[in-house]
């Protein structure tokens, strides 16, 4: 459902993405791993055109969204995005955060938007926070609300950019659990994360990125047990030794 061909992106002549090719099927959970600065965030941001790309194509359900005639606001509704630092709207309650886009962008009635919001709050286990403001929430709660907010637009793909990296360790699990549920329900997901436990358990495919390239991709079993490339091996041994307790953070 997503097809990326030869995607290139540079910032001020500094080439960050050097030709990315990728096919993602519906209901697939693709986990993007790689060292900091590899271009993972940039890649996600190119997918929903928060960054304009220099060359290449991005097809979503067959439609080339890099075509300037495409209404990008329409496309973005199909691509939910969850950010590392939540970016909840601080001047709105949790409910308003979730309802504003369905109402203003999709012109849903208050009633419809409200019912969806309540349903989503239930799903992320935060119904009791409906009238709270973001400042009154913990990091884990904020991120679960951010997920609910993105889901309210009924996207067909969810993009996660290190959704647990800004969280205290004890809150990582609750966010990953929500994401895992989402995966179970068949949501197509692209997840940038350093949580190798999650990648292994929930990912259908792991992609290792480094210095603007996809270095290697494989099923979790194969990639973690038999990495082919030296860079992958180096990265994995480094991150797994620093994260030997990750598997415990994910309570399944």
């Amino acid at each position: 459902m997503i097809k990326v061909t030869d995607l290139k992106k540079a910032f001020d002549g500094n080439v960050i993405l050097k030709g990315i090719n990728l096919d993602i099927n519906a209901q697939e959970v693709v986990v993007l791993i790689g060292p900091s600065g590899a271009g993972k965030s940039t890649f996600l941001r190119c997918l929903n055109q928060l960054e304009t790309i220099n060359s290449g194509h991005i097809f979503i359900n067959g439609e080339d969204i890099t075509n300037p005639k495409v209404d990008i606001n329409k496309i973005r509704q199909k691509l939910g995005m969850v950010f590392q630092d939540f970016n909840l709207f601080p001047h709105m309650t949790v409910l308003e955060n979730i309802m504003i886009s369905p109402m203003k962008v999709k012109h849903e009635s208050h009633k419809t938007a409200y019912e969806t919001a309540i349903q989503l709050l239930n799903k992320v286990g935060l119904l009791n926070k409906a009238t709270a403001y973001p400042d009154d929430l913990s990091g884990g709660q904020k991120q679960r609300i951010a997920i609910a907010r993105a889901l309210a637009m009924k996207p067909s793909v969810m993009l996660f950019d290190e959704p647990t990296s800004a969280l205290d360790p004890e809150m990582v699990g609750e966010v990953l659990a929500v994401m895992q549920n989402l995966a179970r329900e068949g949501m197509t997901m692209i997840v940038v994360t350093h949580e190798m436990g999650f990648a292994r358990e929930v990912g259908n495919r792991i992609i290792f990125m480094d210095r603007g390239y996809i270095v290697e991709e494989n099923s979790p079993q194969n990639l973690f047990s038999h990495p082919q490339k030296e860079r992958t091996k180096a990265f994995l041994s480094k991150i797994l030794s620093s994260q030997n307790n990750t598997l415990n953070t994910l309570q399944l």
């Binding site: 928060l50 606001n73 329409k74 973005r76 950010f83 601080p90 504003i100």
Partner: protein
């Protein structure tokens, strides 16, 4: 000072009252129009189109870089007669004060908008909002809360600056002080009286605004 003439102050009290009301009216009208104009200019300054943005920046540069008094005279003797065929003090005063306040308020609003983190715009755009919706529902409501104190200060400045309108036949507070002085040659009675009234106005405005600010938490 011994023969301080309270009697002429009493005689002028009615004029001072009318002048005070006009001063308040000029200031309110100008801070209101100036805020609308300032918002428009601030968004203009932030346009991606550099040529258009430059026009708005030039506007701000002109109105902040030349004396308000000069602007008032140009508008009273030049612009308004050219547009309407005759001079008009109150219209000229409101026009000049609003155009001038608009430039200062634009800078405040622009800074307010830019103080909202990029993530807010990105999150709203990622949800499908267009630029206008993102500005209208996400960025501006947050920016306004930060701007409010500065808008209050702009209002207080306008109360004082509107005294310049006395020079273009606008019967606001300062105008009556000058009339009194012209009639009786009494400097102290005239100017001390209006100075006190201005002080009461600005202190009251300040008090109300401070009270108001407390009720609008900066989230």
């Amino acid at each position: 000072m011994i023969d301080f003439r309270f009697d002429i102050i009493t005689e002028y009290s009615h004029f001072f009252l009318m002048g005070t009301l006009l001063t308040i009216g000029l200031s309110l009208a100008s801070v209101f129009l100036g805020s609308l104009l300032g918002l428009f200019i601030a968004i203009g300054e932030l346009l991606e189109n550099k040529v258009l943005a430059f026009i708005f920046k030039a506007y701000v540069g002109f109105f902040r870089g030349t004396p308000l008094f000069v602007q008032i005279l140009i508008i009273y003797f030049g612009v308004i007669p050219a547009l309407f065929g005759e001079a008009n003090g109150i219209v000229s005063a409101i026009t000049a004060l609003s155009l001038n306040a608009g430039a200062y308020i634009a800078e405040t609003i622009r800074a307010g908008i830019q103080s909202i983190s990029r993530g807010q715009a990105e999150a709203s755009r990622s949800l499908g909002m267009n630029k206008f919706q993102s500005m209208r529902y996400i960025i501006l409501p947050q920016a306004i809360r930060r701007i409010l104190p500065a808008l209050g200060n702009e209002f207080i400045s306008l109360i004082k600056d509107s005294s310049l309108a006395s020079t273009i036949a606008t019967p606001e507070l300062m105008y009556w002080a000058q009339s009194m002085n012209a009639q009786y040659y009494r400097v102290w009675e005239s100017y001390i009286s209006v100075a006190l009234i201005y002080l009461i106005l600005t202190l009251t405005a300040n008090f109300i605004l401070k009270h108001f600010e407390k009720k609008v938490p900066v989230k």
